[in-house]
């Protein structure tokens, strides 16, 4: 089962025309060292305007070198996940500034406690396989939030997660944090449990710092997510095809630089193409074009044989309502049917401004449903059940058959928080909707508070390092 939104011909044309952009329009790379690397590799560069024009053979060469894997480890180093193995993995939204407070019924600024508790929650949710810092606590010093959130993530989940460093200096501290957990820098790099993430500034522009961070990731061989975030109509053409072409040029630029520095480095295609609402000018994470463009990006990634990570469970509403559910389901299902390797943004509300504990649990259930859909209908001797149909015969029933017991859990997905007629527990507990059931699950998972996954010694070392960061940054 693989859904193809774009024909092979249309896909080839988008690919070709984005290469044309790279060769003829060019990209602005505001980093001298990177421009020199591009120049040495055969690109035309202009020192004054910072423009780089990338020839076809350099593009082709980089695509031939890039790894077809995306390996990240869990925190104990016991399991390695190749996220480009043909399956679909779920992950949560990162970097929201607010959290929905269920008891108060409003969104409020996220705190450190929210990040810690939400990370513990994510660690327990079975359909969120890898993660991001779900909120950026507003009490953390603004210029150090990447380091502080990394320290939280390292202490409260075993799942691999993505880091977006603000600067080379901050990245250095984040790598030190990772090394504390792994025991040494070498051990950390041998089995990395984080990947590095960068966002070029659309249109066609890599800032000095973004480029420097991207180069550092490549130098140390960390898996890299390249995540253009064009807003259609604002920072890319309003037409979906135009946005796709531009973002592909932006993505390929990063990929090429990484391959020049470290041939074979793992790269993840992580574009978030967000349409603009033409009434307000805001980026709309619930619009259905998000899912359409994400689906095309999955196809482009597959064309290059690399890992795709797209939206996803987007919604524009702050409410737990039909808009929320339908936008999330529509935008997540389409790219997954096309074979997305990672489907992003569990927990997202209000155009990624807000996250919510309950939304994480609800999205975990939506992902469960979607993963069930991707498993399709199993045709086999056992599931076709000819012998069984004969055995039970006309007028019999299947409830007492072992076949029913054995296959019930494989064949039927039973989301725990969804109401189904006859579900007495819902009524007994006074639930009025899935949100109440999700809240109850949040309470259950967090009943013992946040659970630290590193030992006391490492936690202390992390705090000592954070103190140093705070002191030296003053």
């Amino acid at each position: 089962m693989k859904f193809e939104l774009l024909s092979q011909q249309d896909l080839d044309r988008i690919d070709l025309e984005s290469r044309q952009i790279l060769g003829e329009v060019g990209v602005k790379i505001n980093n001298m060292k990177a421009r020199e690397l591009f120049k040495d590799a055969g690109a035309k560069v202009d020192a004054e305007t910072h423009m780089v024009w990338i020839p076809a053979d350099l593009i082709e060469g980089a695509l031939a070198k890039v790894s077809h894997h995306f390996n990240v480890w869990n925190r104990t180093g016991s399991t390695c996940y190749d996220l480009n193995n043909g399956k679909t993995y779920g992950h949560n939204v990162g970097g929201c500034v607010r959290i929905h407070d269920f008891d108060m019924g409003i969104s409020r600024d996220a705190t450190e406690q929210d990040l810690i508790k939400a990370t513990t929650l994510i660690d327990a949710l079975e359909n969120i396989h890898v993660c991001r810092p779900v909120v950026y606590p507003q009490e953390f010093p603004a210029e150090l939030r990447d380091i502080y959130t990394a320290a939280c993530m390292l202490q409260y989940t075993n799942k691999p997660y993505g880091v977006s460093a603000y600067s080379l200096r901050n990245l250095d501290y984040i790598l030190q944090l990772g090394s504390l957990v792994s025991g040494s820098y070498e051990a950390f790099l041998e089995k990395p449990f984080i990947w590095g993430s960068v966002c070029p500034a659309s249109p066609l522009n890599y800032s000095e710092s973004t480029t420097a961070i991207l180069m550092k990731y490549a130098e140390i061989g960390l898996p890299v997510a390249i995540a253009p975030c064009p807003v259609s109509g604002g920072t890319s053409p309003v037409s979906l095809a135009g946005t796709l072409i531009q973002q592909n040029a932006e993505f390929l630029t990063g990929l090429i630089l990484v391959q020049i520095i470290n041939p074979g480095n793992e790269v993840k295609y992580t574009t978030r193409p967000i349409p603009m609402d033409m009434r307000t000018g805001t980026a709309t994470f619930g619009s259905v074009e998000l899912g359409l463009m994400s689906t095309a990006i999955v196809q482009l990634a597959h064309k290059y044989g690399i890992c795709s990570d797209v939206y996803g469970l987007g919604t524009s509403t702050f409410a737990f309502d039909p808009q929320n559910g339908s936008e999330k389901a529509l935008n997540a299902l389409l790219p997954v049917l096309a074979g997305a390797n990672l489907i992003a943004a569990a927990g997202l509300m209000e155009d990624a401004l807000t996250s919510s504990y309950e939304q994480l649990v609800i999205d975990n259930a939506i992902l469960g449903n979607i993963f069930r859909i991707t498993r399709g209908i199993n045709i086999s001797n056992e599931t076709n059940a000819l012998d069984l149909i004969e055995k039970v015969g006309p007028g019999g029933n299947y409830l007492l058959e072992d076949h029913t017991r054995i296959f019930a859990r494989q064949e039927l997905f039973t989301p725990k928080i969804c109401y189904r007629s006859g579900n007495q527990q819902y009524k007994e507990q006074g639930f009025t909707s899935i949100t109440d059931a999700a809240h109850e699950q949040v309470q259950t998972i967090l009943k013992n508070g946040a659970v630290r996954v590193v030992d006391e010694k490492i936690a202390t070392q992390i705090n000592v390092l954070l103190d140093e960061v705070k002191t030296t940054s003053k």
Binding site: L399, L400, G422
Partner: protein, 211 residues
Amino acid sequence: MSSLSNIADAIYDGDLATVVAQTNSAIQNETPALEILEKGLMAGMDRVGQDFKTGDLFIPEVLIASRAMQAGMEILKPLLVTQKIKSPGKIILGTVQGDLHDIGKNLVAIMLQGAGFEVIDLGVDVGRDIFLKAIIENKPDLVGMSSLLTTTMPQMSEIIEAIKQAGLRDQVKIMVGGAPLNEHYAQKIGADGYAQNSSIAVDLAKSLINA
């Protein structure tokens, strides 16, 4: 003691062979039959009931647990009779005339048996005369009726009326179930209780008998 908790675990897992073997060995070790029943079989079934209610166990898993429970009961029954231990109650079940949908009723029967009730199942398409005859012959504590179709729901009312006419209404409690029914309808037709699903039916049967 540990063998009794093994029995409870085996009940929960629906492991009939282990339930039978462990029950026999507990008897050989001269564990009192009542203790085997309460701390082994019933303890396992209680956990099954709990997890079924919360949605952690599925119907087919409950059914095999009930089957294992019944196998254990068969072994204990002769010993329990000599100790004059009564079952929690006797119930007649039937899907009413005109209706052939009996999955729900069968589930209720198995769950009640699992809880130790003596169940007399009259099957499907059961009219009022058969109900009356069975009540007179078996002297049950409870009568349970089911219907899936809105067209056969009125049958329940007629059967309850017939039980009244025959002067048997005081001798039995009546419970009803089926997808289109509700508490209000049960009251309206003069039943003593309504159960939305099979695990609630067991709780209802117990509470009606103790009432």
